[in-house]
């Protein structure tokens, strides 16, 4: 399926979860199909989505315990490859409330679909080899992504979703970076 469809299907199954979304077209597509103050859209810093998600998840876990709100990261194959060390840190820190979704189109989609190594290097196997114990795989042919089991699984969870290359024709996000951050922090609504 197309990435925008995967983003729509997954985000529509989220309620309380907080979302960190990768730079470029993934954020634009998510904003287009479903906007929420519970979404943090990255406008720069390629590769940092999983790291931002880990920091947020660890902070929330420190107040709420493992029953607390979950953090869902929408990352890409190129971005994961840029910050592979992050997988090692996440697996070792064992954030139970973190779900890392890699929407893998085997290319750098936002810059003209140049190939990544994800067509030959299996990112799910990479995640498993660095210590992720809970991994899921959705092939590109999958018509419907049921996220129920993923959301019920104790993290850190690695979800590998193969998607078609290409971007939807969606405009840039009309929000200032500070506004994205401020409304996200208000949505977290810390009462500690």
């Amino acid at each position: 399926m197309e990435r925008i469809k995967a983003l729509k299907q997954i985000s529509n199954q989220l309620e309380k979860e907080l979302v960190i979304c990768n730079i470029g077209f993934p954020s634009r597509e998510l904003y287009h199909v479903k906007d929420s103050p519970q979404h943090f859209y990255m406008l720069g810093s390629m590769g940092m989505a999983s790291s931002i998600g880990l920091g947020l998840a660890m902070a929330l876990e420190s107040y709420e315990g493992k029953e607390g709100r979950k953090v869902v990261v929408f990352d890409g194959d190129g971005s994961v490859l840029m910050n592979l060390g992050s997988l090692v840190t996440i697996a070792n820190q064992k954030a139970q409330n973190l779900i890392l979704v890699v929407l893998d189109n085997e290319c750098y989609g936002s810059t003209g679909s140049q190939c990544t190594y994800a067509s030959t290097t299996d990112l799910k196997k990479v995640a498993e080899s660095v210590g992720f114990q809970k991994t899921f795989f959705f092939p590109e042919s999958k018509k419907n992504i049921d996220f129920t089991t993923v959301l019920e699984t104790e993290g850190p969870v690695f979800v590998h979703v193969k998607v078609k290359a290409g971007n939807a024709d969606v405009p840039i996000i009309p929000l200032e970076p500070e506004d994205i951050k401020e409304r996200f922090m208000e949505a977290i609504n810390l009462t500690y």
Partner: protein, 163 residues
């Protein structure tokens, strides 16, 4: 006053409760103190850039973050500082072991040591330069207040002679 103890006391006084780190030989004692403190979440990272990402997430989750790093790691972090910290206005305290300064025994540390203040200036990141443990104890909590008010990173450059 012991230099590592002074930096630790400054961090505690600032209310820092989330620390990401890459080691430096000069930060060794401080890292042990951070690791042993039950009020501080300590996340050793694989690369400084990653640490800045983690710290930004922790800040949005209500934490007061600091990074313990060697100045060589500033080079690994330029893009995240510019296109995440600068545009979204994230605060963080950067506790930096400044290698390549007077007394440096390793020649490879010299170029990055010399480039560090200029890089900080180019990135418009303010920094202080405590020369003694007493200065560090005073400047670190003040620096966090400035970082949080300004929504920006603030550097604490600690030369070889500081330790």
């Amino acid at each position: 006053m012991d230099s590592s103890q002074a930096v630790f006391d400054g961090i505690k006084k600032a209310g820092i409760d989330f620390v990401v780190s890459m080691p430096c030989v000069n930060l060794g004692k401080l890292l042990e103190m951070i690791e042993c403190d039950p009020e501080i979440i300590h996340v050793p990272v694989t690369r400084e850039e990653e640490g800045f990402g983690i710290a930004a997430g922790a800040y949005m989750g209500g934490k007061k973050p600091a990074m313990l790093m060697q100045n060589s790691g500033l080079g690994n972090s330029v893009n995240v500082l510019a296109s995440l910290y600068s545009i979204y206005k994230f605060p963080i305290l950067m506790i930096i072991s400044h290698r390549g300064t007077k007394g440096e025994p390793i020649c490879a540390q010299i170029p990055m040591g010399e480039a560090t203040p200029g890089l900080m200036d180019t990135l418009k990141i303010a920094y202080v330069h405590p020369k003694t443990p007493e200065e560090a104890l005073k400047l670190i909590p003040e620096s966090w207040i400035l970082a949080e008010l300004g929504g920006a990173p603030l550097g604490i450059l600690l030369d070889i002679s500081f330790w």
